[in-house]
């Protein structure tokens, strides 16, 4: 079976800043690939290439075995790659349901927006995630950070076709909401989608992921199958090995 997405030795520079170099990984159908790493490690850059926001400078990028270079996010969407960005990609002044359907608006048979349908689906999708909004007509900008996150996730889940990419989806979420998101990730995987998940929380990453890609300062630090690594080792690797132990020790020291 060809992987849904396969990148090999991919590289990306912003002007003179090398944000990503020589990174390889695969995303298989029915599997979760988890990208981990420090702040500024290049995680968002990687998924922006996958999502068609930026284009890679070096290396190869294949979708279903076919060498590709997306010209726009629309292009990626049309190839079945849906993305939730870290900065959420919502339009603050627009209402919740209009944001939900942005770019994929439902229309009636006369070509007009089907507003009733739009509102209902949005309300349903959000309440499935445990978010009950007062009003899906309110501007997204007036939602709390976590609520906004949920809108973006609900949108990607609803429209996601083959690959679902999530950039730190649980960062701003409460315990319950985070749990719901993870459940969605697991559900999507079980429906046969390929999922790319970025997170800083090993407790969120470990239960759902099948493969871990560790980045550091733009380079791959390692790539592990779930069978190869335990949560303890993963956490240690995420924090850059030995450094964390010193820190934990110190934190405990201060507490005492």
């Amino acid at each position: 079976m060809t992987p849904l997405i396969e990148v090999e030795n991919i590289g990306k520079t912003y002007g003179s800043v090398i944000a990503l170099s020589d990174v390889s990984t695969v995303v298989n159908a029915g599997e979760v690939t988890c990208v981990l790493g420090d702040n500024g490690a290049g995680k968002s850059t990687l998924i922006k290439v996958l999502a068609g926001v930026h284009q890679h400078d070096r290396g190869s990028f294949r979708v279903e075995g076919e060498e590709i270079r997306f010209s726009s996010p629309r292009d990626a969407l049309d190839h079945g790659i849906a993305t939730v960005y870290q900065d959420l990609a919502v339009v603050p002044l627009m209402s919740v349901w209009r944001n939900f359907f942005l770019g994929s608006e439902p229309t009636t048979k006369f070509g007009f927006l089907d507003r009733r349908k739009g509102r209902e689906i949005t309300r349903k999708a959000l309440s499935d995630m445990g978010i009950d909004l007062r009003d899906v007509e309110q501007p997204v900008g007036t939602l709390s950070g976590g609520e906004r996150q949920c809108v973006a996730i609900a949108r990607a889940v609803h429209f996601g076709a083959k690959v679902l990419i999530l950039d730190e989806p649980t960062a701003a979420l409460g315990v319950k909401q985070a749990g719901v998101v993870l459940k969605y990730v697991a559900q999507a995987r079980d429906r046969g989608l390929g999922v790319v998940l970025i997170t800083h929380n090993p407790h969120h990453a470990y239960p759902v992921a099948d493969r871990f890609l560790l980045l550091k300062r733009g380079r791959a630090l390692g790539s592990y199958e779930k069978s190869e690594i335990g949560i303890g080792e993963l956490t240690k690797q995420m924090a850059g090995g030995a450094e964390l132990e010193a820190l934990e020790h110190e934190l405990r020291g201060v507490q005492a």
Binding site: V53, V91, P92, G103, G111, L113, G130, K183
Partner: protein
């Protein structure tokens, strides 16, 4: 299998009870509407002729031409861009039509078609330049503003030796084209110009597009956060270019109405008008930063403008102070509008 235990409750305990008035002011145009009502009442009381049918015909006429442009400019502003060349474009299109019809002897309808093509091309060029260079549209369209202004004067003088083109009345097709663009209709024995109907029509279409179509949704999105809109798959470049072309189309419409109505056009017409369009749109609730606004609001903004301009004349105030009255009146209208909108926004949340 649902995870959430709480179904959305009919009444949310986190919402204080909304007052009746607050419910009324949920629409974004309501502020401008009240501003318009104030201006209307004010001049109806202060002057005699303002409220008459003849009076209404006068200020509606004035508002209509401004209104067509204001609505188009409002769409563009919601889409996050400016078009400073919109004012001179009304003259450019009229000049193209007039020169073709009077100098080359083309049929008026054909001339109108050519000038429409010209307008759309300029609009597309504006949009393409803005998107291609990434420069603010304020600067790019300022360039086209200056260029068109120069062209208008230069070409007119080159061809006619004077600064105006006249003599449309003798051209072929003037009557029929004039009927569509510049005729009058009677209400209560007073003639109203057909431009008023164009205005209403244009506003309705723009409003429907904005609120009821995918393209309308995209206009809000590209104005509110173009980068984000792009990442969810909205064709940003295409949408913005279409908006510039819409403005150009409106300028063509106004230019055509002008040339058919006055049968002559002056090369420096329209200069400075572009700001009035923007002002009317802002009075009507458009944000200068894009992503928010309404077509109906812009039309009402133009109405306020028209009523104030003509009302001052009806009131017989010394026209030396004209701008002072206008300034104070606009500021007052915007302030009322603003207070109301804030209130509305509080409710909407």
């Amino acid at each position: 299998m649902t995870v959430t235990a709480t179904a959305p409750p009919a009444a949310d305990e986190r919402l204080g009870k909304p007052r009746a008035l607050d419910q009324l002011v949920k629409r974004p145009e309501i502020g401008a509407m009240l501003g318009a009502l104030l201006v209307f009442l004010f001049f109806s009381v202060v002057t005699e002729q303002f409220l008459s049918v003849g009076g209404a015909a006068t200020w509606l006429d004035d508002a209509s031409m401004l209104g067509i442009m204001a609505v188009a400019v409002a769409l563009l502003m919601i889409g996050g861009e400016f078009d400073l060349s919109a004012g001179v474009m009304t003259a450019s299109t009229a000049l193209v039509t007039a020169l073709l019809a009077t100098r080359l002897g083309l049929n008026v309808w054909l001339s109108l078609l050519v000038s429409l093509a010209f307008a759309l091309a300029v609009g597309a060029l504006n949009g393409w330049l803005v998107m291609r260079t990434g420069l603010p549209s304020f600067i790019v369209t300022l360039g086209s503003f200056l260029a068109l202004q120069g062209l208008n004067l230069g070409v007119t003088r080159l061809v006619t030796g004077s600064v105006q083109v006249s003599g449309m009345r003798e051209t072929a097709g003037y009557e029929s084209a004039g009927f569509l663009f510049a005729s009058t209709f009677q209400i209560g024995g007073t003639s109203f110009f057909v431009s008023i109907i164009w205005w209403v029509l244009f506003t309705v279409v723009a409003s429907v597009v904005l609120l009821r179509t995918r393209f309308g949704n995209w206009i809000f999105a590209v104005g509110g956060a173009a980068q984000n809109a792009r990442s969810v798959g909205v064709p940003v470049v295409r949408s913005k270019i279409l908006l510039f072309m819409t403005t150009a189309f409106a300028a063509w419409l106004v230019g055509s109405i002008n040339i058919l109505r006055y049968a002559s056009v002056q090369a420096n017409q329209g200069i400075g008008e572009e700001f009035k369009y923007i002002i009317a749109a802002v009075i009507g609730g458009c944000l200068l930063t894009g992503g928010f606004g309404s077509a109906v609001g812009a039309a009402i903004g133009a109405l306020i403008f028209g009523m104030a301009r003509q009302g001052i004349v009806y009131a017989g105030w010394n026209s030396d102070w004209f701008q002072l009255f206008l300034g104070v009146m606009l500021l007052a209208a915007v302030l009322v509008n603003n207070v109301l909108r804030r209130r509305a926004e509080r409710v909407r949340r």
